[in-house]
Symmetry: C2
Subunit: 411 residues, 2 copies
């Protein structure tokens, strides 16, 4: 309530509930105050079938959720031997002594169903009371999220008369924009089981496929059918699944294939190199990058001839090709990749408006160039250029067609 | 309520209210539903002196805040000619035609005080009703925030019996950690007018000084006294004020002084160069960067002798010095700056544990090296190294002492 913490749980839980068709009507936040917490839960019980309460289950004096809800419902709190033993095991495993205040976390409301918490000490609890379900969950997202996906989503489906297991998978797409993707899977977006929900983030589109079924195998089968259909319709634009993003994918492919990489960047100023080195193990494939921001750097460090800079300009297919070839040659790598463009807001011309960007990839087979034009602000254009370069790299590594490829430049 | 939007307004407003001593007791979120919005405002009026409602003031059919609150309070909605004219001016200025649905935004509740919205079409409204204040504000943060700071904070101070203007200033500090800063300004943190609130973010500490007074001049005077005191106590660790961060500051100083910069990066992989090029105009001082990630790149592109790499290692003061000198020499700039370190999680040794980092700065006066050790995860260590390099650069440019400077290396 002091504004130090942003409520990401409300967003995350609402997203998950939308996936299984639960209507969310109210988010209410109160501080660690017994009167206001009690009033908030009491009011919620007048208007909702299910009340999810997060936070306030820890060991300290201001963790008041358990006792406040117990009082409101007129139920006893009882120490549970199993829960206590599991809390004690957590401390022992870490070589620490359990302080007495931690005992409090083993208190269960009379009649509560325990939700195990593999990532923390306080378990969750589900209490059914006069036709309502009250669900208590810990506040930290790392504890709450797995408990919610594994136990609360299936519980709510069952509560809604759907005895079900929920499984979801994310299909990651790079290349087409969100509207193009939506157009291609329009009928699937209207489906009810599995549901397909699109999310667009800088340069990529994700489709989250969520299925309900009576068991995990059946839910997975439902998902796989739709995931397969999406992959068929989008072809090489689908680059991966779940948590593996473009940077991780390119890193993995380069490492697996034993290929090495050199980079030359102009407008992106080292952004591509910094992304690839954000993952441990980059040294197994990444040798280095020349950020040739000024033309003198393109000439003096990369050896791009002044004549090329003068005839074609620094933002040209010809310059991109030379940058990629020279980075590769000087660092003696298998692949060289280069980005040169006009990020804006200044520097655009009639022929080469702001956002114009060339990406070159040089490999033993030859060199290719991609031309694109981004329509965002300076830093969006830079981000998009990096995504486009990574996408070009992964398409090369997985033998996909490369959109926007120019054929009329030097090989 | 579908989880697509995260509620940053609740956090931002709560932070501002904490600064002026307003206790926030409830955050309630409902969808664009008349019944639930009405119930939420009605319940809030039972328990609070002031109810802030954000969002739902736009031109479309689902923007229902105005009419719902008008109905609840039993007040008429009347089109205001001044507001309508100002909305029309906005459209004219942009060369667009105002569609009829925009008229709705000129509707004011009977007796409402208008809050001008310089960044959007819908104005805010304050309605006083049976001893309560109901404040309606637009949802987009870019519209809400300036209206809140300029009008709502002073209004609430007056409402609390403090006829006052609020002015705040942020003091930006780089070098010492949050606890050291807090220790030095402990007495100021306990002050009531101005209040001093610390915020720590990656590598820097901010102190927001907020004062209330009967007019702007008096509030500014109160602030300046405390800001001056903070600057005296923290000396060269204070690098700036308000919105100018380290990257902007370094860019401005280099541009103003007409100095040029070359960079060599190892563990940070281009992160420093990408930050400096995120601001338009970087080309006036930044020539280029060599990301010498692999030792072969340090040798072949920067010309660091193999003997240095073998005797001292790539993570050494000696290597950092050569990287900075070579980057400067090859790109023919006034200043060269280099970062080499062990980001982790692998690669640490007993002598050079994970986090060990050397930063060298080479200028016409000579070369200096800073040694530091960061105790975070890989990407935190990389971020901290970039901040430390920027801080070393700004201290050099402003003739401040440089903490962590080694004296026993080559000049």
């Amino acid at each position: 309530m002091l504004g130090q913490i942003i409520n990401t749980n409300a967003k995350w839980i609402s997203e998950r509930l939308a996936e299984i068709g639960v209507d969310v009507y109210y988010h209410v936040t109160v501080g660690d105050n017994k009167g206001r917490l009690r009033a908030a839960v009491e009011a919620a019980m007048q208007r909702a079938d299910c009340i999810l309460v997060t936070g306030g289950l820890g060991p300290t004096a201001d963790d008041i959720t358990r006792e406040t809800v117990a009082e409101l419902l007129g139920r006893e709190l009882r120490e549970d031997a199993c829960v206590l033993a599991s809390i004690q095991r957590r401390f022992t495993a870490r070589g620490r002594v359990m302080t007495p205040n931690n005992r409090k976390q083993a208190l269960l409301l009379e009649g509560a169903k325990v939700i195990e918490n593999p990532n923390g000490t306080a378990p969750g609890q589900i209490i059914e009371h006069r036709g309502r379900s009250i669900v208590l969950l810990p506040g930290p997202p790392s504890e709450l999220q797995p408990m919610f996906t594994r136990c609360i989503m299936p519980y709510l489906c069952e509560r809604m008369g759907q005895r079900a297991v929920i499984v979801s998978r994310v299909v990651r797409i790079c290349g087409p924009g969100e509207s193009v993707v939506e157009e291609k899977v329009k009928d699937l977006l209207a489906g009810e089981n599995p549901t397909v929900a699109p999310y667009a983030s800088l340069g990529e589109v994700q489709l989250r496929v969520t299925a309900k079924a009576h068991d995990r195998a059946a839910a997975s089968q439902l998902i796989e059918g739709t995931v397969h259909e999406i992959c068929c319709r989008l072809g090489g634009d689908v680059y991966g699944f779940d948590n593996e993003d473009l940077v991780s994918l390119c890193s993995r492919l380069l490492t697996e294939k034993g290929l090495t990489l050199a980079i030359a960047e102009s407008c992106t100023g080292g952004l591509l190199a910094s992304r690839l080195t954000s993952i441990a193990g980059a040294s197994s494939f990444f040798f280095g990058c020349v950020v040739a921001y000024d033309n003198s750097a393109k000439r003096d460090i990369l050896g791009v001839p002044s004549s090329v800079l003068e005839s074609f300009g620094a933002v040209s297919a010809e310059c991109a090709v030379l940058m990629a070839q020279q980075a590769r040659a000087r660092l003696m790598t298998d692949i060289g990749i280069a980005i040169t463009g006009i990020s804006g807001p200044e520097g655009g011309t009639a022929n080469k408006p702001v956002g114009t960007t060339f990406i070159a990839l040089c490999a033993p087979e030859g060199t290719l160039v991609v031309k694109d034009r981004f329509l965002g602000e300076r830093n969006q254009n830079r981000e998009w250029a990096v995504v486009r370069a990574l996408d070009t790299l992964r398409r090369y590594l997985t033998l996909q067609e490369i959109p926007g490829r120019l054929s009329n430049v030097w090989q």
